[in-house]
């Protein structure tokens, strides 16, 4: 690590969540029935493709969740002090993430203002003082296509680099193909459903080809253009993944205990407990959601402004705001799942194995834990995957309205918000909006497709119809 590790609070949370989910999944896979169901999920082509894409999104988010303070390079102007050198390493004041480190070429290649995708000239005219006097021209970009001496080589260079990218991609495909055919050859035995390996290969191949082309181009051009202050839009799009994934997963994490505990308690115990819980959620759900969120976000902002000490960095502040937002979304979002779990618990409570446990004198908490919770797992999973995409979209809407994440935080909502005014310009600045849209669309579509496959495999009501 080229610096001092400085994990943000949300970093801990997302890593812990990922770890916990992985462990739960592995534990679940020990049950052959569960294993068979996951095999069923992954035997559908869309599910396989979408789960691979989701994995890619998740790994980008995880990479972006290892923050550290980079080592500040020794300033050559300052006199060197060899005696204290080992003890006084100097770190920058603000954190960057591992992803930032990897994307340094993109991050540091900052233009002055807008530029179109793959352009080598700026979007707007500037006055250039030359020997002939002041001219209004489209200046060459500082980084985009800076290696080209002659602007006429632009197209040829683009084509050459793309072809190079394709070549590298195809080269990388060979080991992938070999590896997958090896794996599938082993798994083809037995009567378990065949996993959708072909779909996995196609998805990975597409990703690799796109990635290698982008890799060839992105170092020398702004693949998706730059925004108002000249930041690379591809970089912004990639950075937004963490925000989206974080909002999705952390909100789910917060709503999960409410929904599961209250839903199970309402369904299993019934009576007064049921009445109280139903009262709470019907009240909550009758308050307009956006209003409630806006009010909460505004008051939290006020609180943060008043109570934050000077030494919290900009990042930490934005991070806190993000966590608060997930908290609020979580507090308003558990109702749907809670209702569902209550209904299912009402049904499970009457099943014979629960009656048998009661006849043994098994205590209520133990019945909830051993008999109800495991049998609600599929409902929870289905709902979580569906809710995830809703939350990613909610972030965009809330940030657009201005009550979402911190304006300094890179997110799809903020990108869209920044781009909306520029849609009226001529020629249109479409690339920020389009990038945010494509990234968000891909993530949400994947989540939805995956949710469909999960539901097909786990929902007993659908099973008969296949």
């Amino acid at each position: 690590m080229p610096g001092q590790l400085a994990l943000l609070f949300s970093d801990y949370l997302i890593w812990a969540t990922t770890l916990a989910a992985t462990i739960l999944l592995l534990l679940g896979l020990r049950n052959p029935l569960q294993r068979q169901r996951w095999q069923m999920i992954l035997s559908s082509a869309p599910a396989m493709a979408s789960s691979i894409l989701l994995m890619v999104f998740l790994s980008v988010a995880l990479l972006d969740s290892i923050h550290f303070r980079p080592l500040v390079e020794a300033n050559p102007l300052e006199p060197e002090q060899p005696t204290t050198r080992s003890s006084v390493l100097r770190y920058a004041g603000s954190e960057i993430s591992l992803l930032d480190q990897i994307l340094t070429p993109l991050r540091s290649a900052q233009e002055r203002t807008y530029s179109a995708p793959l352009a080598i000239f700026s979007y707007s005219k500037e006055s250039i003082i030359s020997a002939d006097g002041i001219r209004r021209v489209y200046p060459r970009l500082e980084y985009g296509g800076a290696h080209l001496d002659d602007p006429d080589q632009h197209h040829a260079d683009l084509i050459r680099r793309s072809l190079q990218g394709v070549g590298i991609g195809l080269f990388l495909l060979i080991p992938l193909g070999l590896l997958l055919s090896r794996v599938t050859a082993g798994s083809n035995t037995g009567d378990s459903p065949l996993l959708a390996w072909r779909s996995a290969f196609v998805t990975l191949a597409g990703l690799i080809l796109l990635g290698s082309i982008a890799g060839q181009l992105a170092g020398h051009y702004h693949l998706l253009g730059t925004d108002k202050v000249g930041q690379d839009v591809l970089y912004l799009g990639l950075k937004s993944i963490r925000t989206g994934v974080l909002i999705g997963t952390l909100t789910l994490l917060i709503m999960l205990p409410f929904a599961v505990l209250l839903g199970m308690a309402a369904g299993y115990f019934g009576g007064r407990i049921d009445d109280v819980i139903q009262y709470i959620y019907t009240t909550l759900s009758s308050i307009p959601g956006v209003l409630l969120i806006a009010a909460a976000v505004l008051s939290i902002n006020l609180y943060l402004d008043q109570n934050l000490t000077a030494n919290t960095s900009l990042h930490q502040r934005a991070d806190l705001r993000l966590l608060m937002l997930t908290g609020i979304l979580g507090l308003t979002g558990w109702i749907g799942l809670c209702r569902l779990l209550r209904a299912e618990s009402l049904k499970l409570r009457e099943l014979d194995y629960v009656t048998a446990a009661r006849a043994f004198g098994v205590s209520d908490p133990r019945i909830l834990l051993r008999h109800l919770l495991p049998n609600l797992g599929h409902l929870v999973l289905i709902t979580l995957v569906i809710d995830f995409s809703g939350l990613v979209l909610a972030e965009a809407v809330l940030s657009y309205v201005g009550v979402g994440v911190d304006p300094s935080m890179i997110s799809w909502g903020n990108m869209i918000n920044g781009a909306r005014l520029e849609l009226a310009r001529e020629p249109v600045v479409w690339w920020s909006l389009a990038t945010a849209f494509i990234f968000m669309f891909t993530l949400v579509l994947c989540a939805n497709l995956f949710a469909d496959a999960v539901r097909d495999a786990l929902d007993p009501r659908l099973r008969g119809s296949q």
Partner: protein, 632 residues
């Protein structure tokens, strides 16, 4: 049958395959059969034998995974396997009618009964004026023995009882005036008295229309009562085809003989049912203790005046709260090593008795004494140490085991909750022992319930109950969901466990043949009360209460001759709702012997013989017709 009557339906070499992920299943293998006009053919077999698939194939209603891979279905000169779906539509309903098992889901809940019947009328009738169509529908309802057909015509399915719905289903099936009626387990979801009515209706309609009928069933009694000819199916193949009379006198195929041996009845009391061990065990089995000897024994469980009421809402704004009397003053006592059977139709409160004895539903009144310890009125904490003495086995082997738990954990659950069985490894040994006791491989503890068949799951359920060494086992229809041969094994298992451990059983069931075979004592329940109780043999051979007599007469006997000389449908009507019980003797509206006194006061129990008590003002001591000892 008269061989001069032409063949209506001829099936040749029919093979049906089901494609499932993994492998293809052969559901029906090279099946051949014929049905003649006016004849009833019974397709008899256990679950999974392919009998329903065959019926669906005739109708062209196979599920999408199934397909006919070879063979012909020739119906009155038309080759049905070659017909398209559109062409089949002219056959279905018009020429072949079908009645399904589940009347609750076969009717559309948002359409009136009348509309659904009219829909099925032949095209030429549907073009008639509205009034005429309605008349036709009402006439059909009346033919089905539905009272007040004019009113019923405009009612929705939920306003009808199960038996009525099945009558409507038959009306719909017959509306198109078909030549062949296919009935797929038409009475399996119904109570025995209603079943008798529906079977009688089917027979009567068939005779009136000279229709051919294909009846699919697993029930030997129904087959004996209805069939002209019988086809026995097993694993997609026909193993025996015979005239009904010959079949029920002397089945030829070993599989049929095995099934006959598995049928429980009075004559087999004390003998093993599963043929495999019948020979070597028959000698050692001592007849179960006869009732007289146990009279002085100290009762293990004494229930007196047990009442369970559920408060319902008010009927009108200021009306009184309605109360559902699920169990109303039930008393019995049970000695160690004996079996008390509680018999009754659905809704009579027999399962509620079990739950309230276990204190899972708190009784509103009455006492449950276990070994002189009062169970009612105790807190959950006080009850916990007592719970191990009373355990329960359920009807449905699929919902009684948690699908997410291993067999090991399932069986250990009770031991852990009761803090018994010692260390973890001692408990595991105990699980192995228990699995062996119930006839399973002791090494299956690591598996999950879905890896077992219904009968094996029931064995696991029994092992789970036995794990805490109970003194009383409450069996809630433990064999109703099982096939005949599996039922025989489970009953044998229960018998041997009872002998070894001197357990007392409360056996709740609606199946009278199991009661005859299994029980020492019988209590018959009607609308929350015990109407008759007594020693099993005495009560089953000389029933005193008219309801018991009707129950016994309704159950079809597994014998053609016995079915010929008995009333067709012994008990008219259906049990009233427990929310709205008739005053006096609850049974009086359906009772043939009822007099004025019956509608005003509930009869006190009177003794017929020493321990045989009947709650009836005019106890009839006539031997039940037909059912007993006729099939030997």
């Amino acid at each position: 049958m008269n061989s001069a009557t032409p063949d209506l339906l001829t099936i040749d070499d029919l093979t049906i395959e089901f494609r499932t992920p993994g492998r293809d299943l052969l559901a029906v293998k090279q099946l051949g059969m014929t049905i003649r006009t006016g004849e009833t053919l019974v397709l008899l077999g256990e679950s999974g034998s392919g009998k329903s698939v065959t019926a669906l194939a005739i109708m062209g209603l196979l599920p999408s995974a199934g397909s006919i891979t070879s063979g012909n279905i020739n119906f009155d000169g038309e080759e049905l396997t070659r017909y398209s779906n559109a062409a089949m539509r002219n056959i279905r309903g018009r020429r072949i009618g079908m009645v399904f098992q589940e009347p609750m889901t076969s009717l559309n809940p948002v359409m009136t009964v009348g509309k659904q019947i009219v829909e099925a009328l032949p095209a030429k009738l549907r073009r008639a004026p509205r009034r005429q169509i309605r008349e036709q529908g009402v006439k059909l309802l009346a033919e089905m023995g539905i009272p007040e057909p004019q009113r019923r015509f405009d009612e929705f399915p939920h306003q009808l009882s199960g038996g009525m719905k099945q009558r409507v289903m038959i009306a719909i099936a017959l509306a198109g005036e078909p030549d062949l009626l296919i009935a797929d387990e038409p009475t399996t979801a119904l109570d025995v008295t209603t079943q008798a009515q529906i079977l009688e209706l089917l027979r009567q309609r068939q005779r009136a229309r000279n229709m051919a009928m294909l009846l699919v069933t697993h029930d030997f009694g129904i087959a004996a009562q209805m069939a002209d000819r019988v086809l026995v199916m097993r694993a997609g193949e026909i193993v025996e085809t015979a005239d009904s009379k010959d079949f029920f006198q002397a089945p030829k195929h070993p599989y049929s003989q095995q099934l006959f041996a598995a049928l429980p009845n009075l004559n087999k009391r004390g003998k093993s049912l599963s043929q495999a061990n019948q020979a070597d065990e028959a000698g050692q089995v001592t007849p179960s203790p006869m009732v007289n000897s146990s009279a002085k024994a100290v009762p293990q469980l004494t229930v007196s005046g047990l009442q369970v009421r559920f408060d319902q809402g008010r009927d009108t704004l200021f009306g009184p709260r309605q109360t559902l009397h699920a169990v109303d003053g039930v008393s019995f006592s049970l000695n160690p090593g004996e079996t008390l059977a509680i018999v009754g139709e659905s809704g009579c409160g027999k399962s509620t008795v079990i739950k309230s004895v276990l204190q899972l539903i708190r009784p509103s009144n009455g006492s449950v004494l276990f070994d002189d310890t009062e169970l009612t009125g105790r807190s959950q904490r006080q009850l916990r140490p007592l719970r191990r003495h009373l355990q329960v086995v359920f009807q449905d082997p699929y919902s009684s085991l948690n699908p997410r738990m291993r067999v090991n954990d399932i069986i250990q659950e009770g031991m852990i909750a009761q803090k018994m069985g010692g260390t973890a490894s001692q408990r595991e040994d105990r699980v192995k022992q228990l699995l062996e006791d119930v006839g399973l491989d002791p090494d299956v503890g690591d598996r999950y319930p879905h890896e077992f068949s219904g009968g094996q799951r029931q064995r696991i359920g029994i092992a789970r109950a036995l794990a805490v060494e109970p003194r009383v086992l409450l069996l809630d229809e433990p064999t109703s969901a099982l096939d005949l041969s599996v039922q025989a094994q489970i009953l044998d298992l229960l018998k041997s466990i009872q002998r070894k451990r001197d357990l007392a059983y409360i056996f709740v069931t609606h199946d009278l043949s199991v009661v005859e075979y299994f029980a020492d004592w019988v209590a018959v329940m009607y609308l929350g009360r015990i109407v008759e109780e007594g020693p099993a043999v005495d009560l089953m051979t000389r029933p005193g209460h008219p309801y018991t007599q009707a129950l016994l007469a309704s159950a079809p006997a597994v014998s053609v001759t016995a079915n010929q000389n008995r009333p067709a449908a012994p008990l008219p009507g259906e049990p009233p709702s427990p929310l709205n019980r008739p005053g006096g003797c609850h049974f009086h509206p359906r009772c043939t012997y009822a007099e004025h006194r019956c509608s005003t006061e509930y009869p006190a129990p009177s003794e017929l013989t020493a321990q045989h008590r009947v709650s009836c003002h005019y106890p009839q001591s006539i031997p039940a017709a037909g059912n007993i000892g006729t099939d030997s």
